[in-house]
Symmetry: C2
Subunit: 174 residues, 2 copies
Amino acid sequence: MNFKLSEAIAVLERTPSTFRALLGGLTDGWIGCNEGPETFSPFDNLGHLVHGERTDWIPRARIILAQGPDRRFEPYDRFGQVRESAGKSLADLLDEFATLRAENMATLRAWSLSEEQLALEGLHPQFGAVTLRQLLATWVTHDLGHVAQTTRVMAKRYRDDVGPWRAYLPILDR
Amino acid sequence: MNFKLSEAIAVLERTPSTFRALLGGLTDGWIGCNEGPETFSPFDNLGHLVHGERTDWIPRARIILAQGPDRRFEPYDRFGQVRESAGKSLADLLDEFATLRAENMATLRAWSLSEEQLALEGLHPQFGAVTLRQLLATWVTHDLGHVAQTTRVMAKRYRDDVGPWRAYLPILDR
């Protein structure tokens, strides 16, 4: 096991800047491209992360920390960002993500979680018992996965343009 | 085909900031982790990109643009960043990448490439004839692929820490 709270926070607090550096100011060609119907564009990836800031990670952590009689999480709405992002620009979402993530990092830091608290459990709708440590490790991994997904979607825009180099670029066929 | 020079430059000029946002100030635990022997850590990914700035993209573009009698590219040394990175810190590499990439973007912009120039060919050691357009599209895709690889390597550090969520995080098993 590799999880350390301080290292997890270090990644989580960087993700909004990573998305801003990667996407800020790009054309709709890059922001809106996707891998086909029902797949996420870079814009959708960002909207999905914003939605998670409001509805997923910290709310679930609160359920675990409260240790009330019902520790079941709300099922996560993987397409909730469609409503979340409606009518917003990329710049709006970048700002919103930065603000919400900073608030959530302030909350997480203020908890000063102990090892005992990290071992507390909640009930995942599919998996059953999961610990707060697993939830926070998943948050980090989920962030990194969406950076990877965003860059993969963008890379595939040039799948045909690279010609024979496609054989050396495994990201184009993932 | 989706390649547009201005859009390609927009991605290429952002990559150093993306790496700085993603990695700047992180612990060695994040910077040095990898997927096993002979695989790239985040630090190695960055060193590889620095090496490419010196030896790959612009030098190959120059060979194509010159249209001399020998248009064969030097074979690319995929592990050349081992020498390139020796004794350097992450902060050194981030600065070096930003400087070299800015210089290379200035060069690329100053060329004001025409459609005719983008269609000129060089000789790849494995693939044979490739165009300047394909080379530049590959440069963009290669950057995005190394952002994706860097975040994948980092995500896998928590493969066991996420517990049952692993089933929902395909990046952990790529």
